[in-house]
Subunit: 671 residues, 2 copies
């Protein structure tokens, strides 16, 4: 055990704030790569004149973000266990609310991958034209690469998060600072490449209602900036002590950085005259200074690249670095989803909403299946929406705000419950304050959710509205099944163990006389059974006779019984024979020893053990029968001996799964 | 055993000639539905004037067919065991020749399905226009239907073969008789619907060489009439006694019927002025009487339908019946391939060229995999060649003639070998005669093979020329692997069984205290092991403690050991513990009892046993460890109890797999 501890030490290092920030913030910060742009894109549907609404929309988004950050600071204090929205909703609002949050999170993971990769490809395309021309294909290739990397298993480290995240923060904050300096101090003019373009409106002569609807839709898209804000609340136990305070401070830092970036980019975008149209109508609606449409050959650069072009000049080193770093943090955010998805699966499996084996760590198969499902979903979306970030965002924000709203509502109930028992007036005051903040957060995010649903339902959100209940019902069904089985297996209080089986009849299955057979015979004899016989099924007359002869010649001290199989079948004669044994002495138990080959290559499974496995599956249907596999290790199996377990996903973010605390707790209770 | 015999009686009925003919001839006879037409189609590439070559081409095909029938009559006498081309080639020419035949046969099964279904759809399209307009899709739907039917398992019966085959024979022979009567006796004029059409040649002003090449190519396509002729030689044991003579007679009958049909159809086709162009150029090259191309809307009816139209009138009842019965026998031929493919797989598996489990009957999984592979291959071809029979035939005949040629060559060697030892002059004379026939057959089919390869290589045969060696090498590789493993496992003559393990340490794996656990404990105790302990892995601190308490409260007479798992892993702590036990007493054996759930639905496998299976797979890598599954039958497993084994494929054609003879042979040798 001491050794296991040492091998795990890396995971147990708790994170200082300067590392925790990048580990948990990549997702939230990366969303400023697309959120400001989407506000402009939606407004542009009514023409460039609507850009004048964008500062107000941005302010609204900032207000929501501040509210959400403030709200989650309360979560962090109330749930230092790092429960996350699922735990908060389950504890305070019940299982169905928790499952709703879980469904929303699962959908969101898929969308995080799709949106982040699609937008990352936009930024790569800003410097590599080929990529810009083949966006959906490149995006899918990147998802496949992420999948392969994650299937092979990667050891996470703080540095892998810290370097790209800080590079992104420095680049973008530097861009904003230098841009602001040029504008405000040097009074220089900065011009984006699309500064002199205009946009032909898709919607003309809007009624007041339609205009308001469009502005609200722009606000909905802008709220994409909030995705990922909740990450820190899931990771409190990963922080150094005092955990909650450090986590709350980091959350605030992250919020401030995100707000600065978001506001700075949209301000510089407007100041430099960035024009961005919806990708599907760019070719016709975006007009060059001479009034002609840009046509299908035009590549609409994403907003940070355009701003970098305006501030540093297109093709300059800073321009390339900023575009590259932005792409990098977006891919990192996508990779975070690959790590987070199995962790969520593990939590849900613990509550038996997903197959149990997802709960235990290092089940490579289950883990791989999760990754593949995630990747397939993301690829499907990328292909279906042609890696168009604007259209993908129509699906994205529903899930995020469902979990925000339920989490905040849950927190209000949490405080109300605690207020009933809390006496200390100082603490009560604190709780009242927290409840107000959470209440405000819940109302705010609930309103945003309604706005998002209203403005985006027809353009894509309906897909999520269908997918979430399907996931919800699937998880409910799994839980119901497990509950049914548990009831079936339950030991009643008056349960008396049945009488011990009287005797143990053993059968060794023989196909040929070779080393695995000899080992199976020796092991079967070592169990000192009541009776022991070897059984073979005479499929080929010749082979059966030869086996019989060799058996006698070698003087093997176990009787060999030959079962006839007129229909060249192996399973049925053995099943019939076992049935006969059972009928003869129903109080006894029958053990069937099957020699099994242990192989080293996947394709060897196709060539060996198939009949044995089939027989075993059939034998297990018979009550009173045990099946014992006696392994024979083929040379090829050596290569798999001692192969290490794969790395656990999300290890950096969730170190408390293996904290020393829990372990020592266990040690105390040890017999 | 008596009971098993009774349940198998249906299979054991040997076939009288009148049933054997349809059982084995559906494939061969169905090929007259397309072979005559293909001669005309290829010749039409040089214009209708080349149709004058068609009688000569037909005569050449008939000569080849007579030769092949005569040759296989020799096979039937020499190999009454029904060895088929694979056995003949293996025995006389060696393993590589046998494997070559096997590869050719495998490719041919796929092509039989594709060609037969595509042509069957042609005939359905003759009466149902919708089908004619959606040929590839309909063909794939029919393959899928055949797949589903065969996956579910169908019991074969002689009647299922006899009714469609005799209906086809009566219809087509009646058509020929009535058409001949009208032409020769009544001196009436019969006119196919395309009688007054002409065909614009694809190839103009052919050189003598090019013309000869085209005629040879037409001959190659016409040789498609020979596919399936060898079927009877595989089925001799299914005949009543005297088996060989009856089989030879049936073969001759089949050959004569096929030749009559083939010649009659082509003669009536020419007499009624049928014009058929290659499907890919029909729209442009087939010209109406007024000289305009028929255009893409024209449906080119297949030759038997056109002749039936000429003789009985289009849309008449006989026309519809003949088209329907022709389609039916073609689908029956496709179904025959579905039955034959697993049978071939079984023979190859016996020689360890394919996974062993294919050999034993009723392995639904292996059987299903074979059917699915066959169906996928056929669908791929149907889609790739748009269900165009003319193009599919370019691939078809290579494999057939590879096996013909190798089989006949093998027979020459067979007779030569027997002549060395045979003394009886009457028998020697017979053998000399057989050898001449087989020699002639071998040379003839070899020449046809060369012609086929030369004329069709570039238009499709190359695909088969690539596929066959791939299959060949795969099967060689599988055999090499099995041989390697067999050598690894072989008992040397001086092999002394190792000392018996001294003691048996047993471990019962416990996750919860429920009925399966109690059963596992009871069974483990029934094996009276040297030591026995229950093991649990403490993943959740609380659960582990509760388990411990309940264990003590219930006074279970087996010590419970708690293994710590700081990393929430189940497998590794158990592996480590077993390793410790083994190290402490290396001469003992360790048995791990794992409670396993037996479930009734496929999806339940995803929810149960996964951790157990994973642990088991890892434990088997450790020498000196046995793993015992103690089943617990969940209620849902009741529905699978006693589910019967699926029907064996090809049962009617290969009854000798379960003849009474072999069984009684076995009974004699019984101890």
């Amino acid at each position: 055990m001491g050794r296991a501890l040492r091998s795990g030490q890396l995971h147990e290092q708790l994170l200082p704030k300067r590392i925790a920030l990048p580990v948990f913030a990549s997702d939230a910060l990366s969303s400023v790569a697309y959120a400001p742009q989407e506000i402009l894109v939606i407004l542009s549907l009514a023409g460039v004149s609507f850009y004048s609404f964008s500062p107000w929309v941005a302010i609204a988004v900032v207000v929501v973000m501040l509210t959400v950050v403030a709200s989650y600071r309360q979560n962090v204090h109330a749930y230092p266990s790092g429960g996350g929205d699922y735990e908060v909703a389950t504890t305070n609002l019940g299982k169905n609310a928790g499952l709703t949050v879980a469904s929303a999170l699962m959908v969101d993971y898929v969308l995080t991958v799709a949106v982040s990769v699609a937008n990352g490809v936009d930024y790569v395309g800003a410097t590599i034209p080929f990529v810009g021309q083949h966006k959906p294909a490149v995006a899918i290739v990147i998802v496949v690469l992420l999948t392969v990397v994650n299937l092979r298993g990667i050891r996470e480290s703080g540095a892998a998060f810290a370097i790209p995240t800080y590079a992104f923060m420095i680049s973008v904050l530097g861009l904003i600072a230098w841009g602001g300096f040029r504008l405000l101090v040097l009074h220089e003019n900065i011009e984006a490449p699309s500064a002199h373009f205009t946009i032909e409106p898709e919607q003309h002569n809007l009624t007041a209602f339609a205009a308001a609807f469009l502005v609200l839709r722009a606000f909905s898209s802008g709220c994409a900036a909030l995705t990922g804000v909740e990450a820190i609340s899931n990771g409190v136990p990963a922080f150094r002590k005092p955990k909650s305070r450090n986590a709350a401070t980091t959350l605030l830092m992250m919020g401030l950085v995100a707000i600065t970036m978001f506001s700075g980019i949209i301000a510089l975008g407007l100041a430099s005259g960035v024009k961005v149209a919806e990708p599907s109508v760019v070719a016709e609606d975006l007009l060059r200074p001479d009034g002609t449409p840009v046509g299908p050959g035009y590549y609409q650069q994403p907003i940070i690249s355009q701003v970098a072009d305006a501030v540093f000049g297109g093709g300059s080193v800073p321009f390339i670095v900023i575009s590259a770093v932005t792409a990098l943090i977006l891919f990192l955010a996508a990779n975070t989803a690959f790590n987070g998805f199995p962790v969520l699966g593990s939590i849900l499996a613990q509550d038996r909403y997903l197959p149990r084996q997802l709960h235990t760590r290092g089940d490579r198969l289950a883990f791989s299946n999760g990754i593949i499902i995630l990747a397939l979903g993301a690829c499907l979306l990328l292909w279906g929406f042609q890696a168009d970030v604007s259209r993908l965002l129509n699906l994205y924000i529903v899930g995020v705000f469902v979990s925000f709203t339920l989490s905040q509502t849950g927190m209000v109930i949490h405080w109300t419950r605690h207020l009933k028992t809390e006496a200390d007036p100082r603490v009560r005051h604190q709780m009242h304050r927290s409840r107000v903040i959470n209440f405000f957060g819940g109302v705010m995010t609930g309103l945003v959710l309604i706005v998002v649903l209203l403005t985006k339902f027809l353009v894509g959100a309906w897909i999520v509205v269908i997918a979430m209940p399907i996931l919800f019902l699937m998880m409910k069904g799994i839980r119901r099944h497990y509950d049914k089985v548990a009831a079936e297996l339950e030991l009643t209080e008056d349960y008396e163990p049945a009488m011990l089986p009287a005797r143990n009849h053993t059968i060794v299955l023989v196909s040929k006389l070779h080393k695995p057979t000899m080992r199976a015979l020796a092991y079967a004899r070592a169990t000192r059974p009541s009776t022991l016989e070897a059984i073979t099924v005479g499929v080929e007359g010749d082979e059966a006779r030869k086996l019989q002869e060799e058996w006698e010649r070698r003087g093997i001290p176990v009787p060999l019984k030959m079962l006839d199989s007129p229909y060249r079948e192996i399973t049925q004669p053995i099943l019939d024979y076992v049935k006969t044994l059972r009928r003869r002495s129903p109080r006894d138990v029958v053990t069937v020893f099957i020699p099994e080959y242990v192989v080293g290559h996947w394709w060897e499974h196709l060539l060996h053990n198939q009949s044995a496995l089939r027989l075993k599956a059939r034998l297990l249907f018979k009550p009173g029968v045990m099946v014992t596999s006696v392994p024979w290790q083929l040379h090829s199996s050596d290569r798999l001996q001692g192969r290490p377990e794969p790395f656990a996903p999300g290890a950096v973010r969730r170190p408390w799964h293996q904290t020393v605390k829990e372990e020592s707790q266990l040690a105390d209770k040890r017999p």
